[in-house]
């Protein structure tokens, strides 16, 4: 700094110039709303000299939409609270184009509360307005996209529900003809038949057992999907063991040539739905028959140990791949099966659902020696 700088006095702010050439537009309105004074900045922006603005109203500088909004919103607001701030308005310039501004206004009143002036400050807001426009457009676009997605999803849900209802009805309707076939084979068996015919009947009966198992699974799956879940008819009084033995017997007779061993030691009452546990076992053994090595026995064990029931089914053969393991209990998972063995892939899914309904779990271990599915459920005295 030089000595001469220190001595020169700060130039005083030129208030007249500040008013006329301020970086914002100024307007003062009389109590009747007519313009009594305005600055040069505003005149420059809109191309109308100050003397031409005298006597006009603020609304005369606006487009029609702005006028309506001003009269219905901002004028009452100003009257009510004495000021408004950050109001978005469009001024109409001398050549008819719109100039976006933000307006603040304050009423100046005397000591008696009588209105002297209303002072209005205007700031250019072209950039800001177009940004806000962009935001509104973006929001509209995103609302629209969301609505479209939602209606697509709703449609998908509706379709899924229809499909599942269809499955439920179909499964139910298949039961009647199957029952007729079953009755028919039993009647034929009473007649004197050749060895060959008896063999065919055996096969037919085996198919009936397998098919009714498939239908049960389909129905349970559809029911579960329709939100009803798997219903249980629990009973702790009747023994579970005979049910399990019968399931194994049926499967043995429908799969001659396959060896199924069962060891059962159920010494405590099991509060379960016996039909469901039978279905679970049937599904697990059915799975072992399909995927296990045909020349190795399938072993079944059912035990109680004071706190839980443990039921497992083991087979030999190729172990389940890691990949398959992750999706094993998903519906319609079919693993790597031969075409002639194709089922719906619902057996393990239903079995795991039955386990869950009994507050139990279904787990699997698989290695080259053995693949074993283990179901365990707690033995709790549900009455107390």
């Amino acid at each position: 700094m030089t000595p001469s700088d220190e001595k020169s006095p700060m130039p005083a702010e030129d208030l007249e110039d500040l008013y006329e050439n301020a970086p914002c537009g100024y307007l003062s309105l009389q109590p009747d709303g007519r313009i009594i004074k305005s600055n040069r900045t505003l005149s420059t922006w809109i191309g109308i000299p100050a003397d031409k603005l005298l006597g006009k109203r603020l609304r005369d500088l606006l487009n029609m939409a702005g006028r309506i909004f001003y009269e219905t919103h901002f004028a009452p607001l100003l009257r009510m609270q004495g000021h408004f701030q950050e109001v978005a308005l469009d001024l109409i310039t001398v050549d008819g184009t719109k100039l976006a501004v933000l307006a603040n206004a304050y009423e100046k009143r005397n000591d008696d509360g009588a209105l002297l002036f209303t002072r209005v400050t205007l700031f250019q807001a072209t950039e800001r307005r177009s940004y806000e426009r962009g935001l509104v457009d973006a929001r509209l676009a995103s609302d629209k996209a969301e609505a479209a997605m939602r209606s697509e999803l709703d449609l998908e849900h509706e379709n899924a529900e229809l499909r599942e209802q269809f499955i439920a009805v179909l499964g139910h309707d298949l039961r009647n003809p199957l029952a007729a076939i079953n009755a028919g084979t039993r009647m034929l068996r009473k007649d004197a038949l050749s060895e060959k015919s008896l063999g065919v009947l055996d096969m037919m009966e085996g198919s009936v057992v397998r098919m009714s198992g498939l239908i049960d699974n389909v129905l349970d799956f559809a029911r579960g999907r329709l939100g009803n879940g798997i219903g249980l008819d629990r009973n702790a009084n009747d023994p579970l063991e005979p049910v399990l033995l019968q399931v194994v017997d049926e499967l043995r007779s429908s799969h001659p040539g396959r060896e199924i061993e069962i060891v059962s030691r159920i010494v405590e009452p099991v509060d379960c739905d016996r039909g469901r546990i039978g279905q679970l076992l049937s599904n697990l053994v059915g799975n072992a028959l399909t995927h296990g090595a045909a020349d190795l026995p399938i072993r079944v064990s059912a035990m109680t140990n004071g706190t839980s029931l443990e039921l497992w089914v083991a087979n030999g053969g190729t172990p389940i791949s890691k990949n398959a393991m992750a999706r094993l209990f998903h519906p319609f998972f079919r693993g790597e099966v031969r075409v002639d063995q194709e089922g719906l892939g619902l057996g393990l899914h239903i079995a795991s659902e039955i386990a869950r309904a009994h507050d139990g779990v279904l787990m699997v271990t698989s290695d080259p020696q053995e693949t074993r599915f283990t179901f365990s459920m707690p033995l709790v005295d549900r009455v107390n």
Binding site: G33, R67, I68, T72, P76, L77, G82, Q85
Partner: protein
């Protein structure tokens, strides 16, 4: 939900007769704050907010119901019936003037007289009829509502909170006055400015007072005269007040005109 809380109905004053005040597009029942108290000594006064405005229950907003004036008309009739009003004095500003007219046609027992402040049966010009706006101008208004609500709902609302300058108005009013959900405001603007109720006016049977401001761009003197010519038993008073809201800008004039009429 009760009708009283749905429409934020406030009953004050005492008297054998009842006056019910309805606010127009833009603000809420506080529009009557400088007028209604003057009648509390001799009248029971009823104020309310249209659903979507002020402190009405916004959850009661039904886009379909309020897509025509009849949704608002039904609400007004429900409020009157809930309060057991008959032969009341209806005072309606702006679009609510027409809401009152329609309610009086639908339920003639409710109102013995109507006071219409700045009424307009149709805002858009139509042949010989001068409503004051072209269809394009109204379309521009509806488009521009978005502009203002960007600054309006987010930044404007806090600005309305403080009211240090005019403490007599109280805090509760400034918090909500003129604040409206943007979507509802837009729908209300559409209903208001696209309505056409000219053919209803000749059927009005209640004694009617029309209060017309000078220099009102929303409802011009020409429109006021049209209403006066169309409503059989009507009287037109042109106020000295200018603008669209004499209930705020010239409450004294409005009060004495209504008193003279009653």
């Amino acid at each position: 939900m009760s009708i009283v809380s749905r429409n934020n109905v406030r009953v004050r004053g005492h008297g054998q007769r009842t006056m019910i005040f309805a606010h127009g597009f833009g603000c809420d029942q506080n529009m009557w704050r400088l007028v209604a108290p003057a009648f509390e000594a001799d009248f029971k006064t009823v104020l309310f907010d249209h659903v979507g405005a002020g402190q009405s229950d916004l959850t009661a907003y039904d886009a379909e119901k309020y897509s025509t004036l009849s949704g608002y008309v039904d609400d007004l009739i429900e409020i009157c019936r809930e309060l057991g009003l008959t032969q009341a004095v209806f005072v309606g500003h702006s679009v609510s003037a027409m809401i009152g007219v329609l309610a009086s046609l639908k339920a003639p027992e409710l109102f013995e007289s109507l006071v219409l402040v700045g009424p307009s049966p149709r805002y858009i010009n139509d042949g010989e009829y001068v409503g004051g706006f072209t269809a394009a101008e109204i379309a521009e208004l509806l488009d521009s509502l978005d502009d203002n609500h960007m600054g309006w709902s987010a930044s404007m609302a806090p600005a309305i909170m403080g009211n240090a300058d005019r403490p007599e108005l109280g805090e509760e009013l400034t918090n909500s006055f003129c604040r409206t959900d943007p979507e509802m405001a837009k729908a209300f603007a559409r209903v208001t400015f696209t309505s056409d109720n000219r053919s209803d006016l000749p059927h009005v049977t209640a004694g009617t007072l029309i209060l017309q401001c000078r220099d009102d761009i929303i409802a011009s003197e020409e429109v006021g005269e049209f209403v006066h010519r169309s409503v059989p038993n009507s009287q037109l008073i042109v106020l000295d007040a200018s603008g669209h809201c004499p209930n705020l800008s010239a409450p004294g004039e409005v009060i004495s005109a209504i008193r003279g009429f009653l």
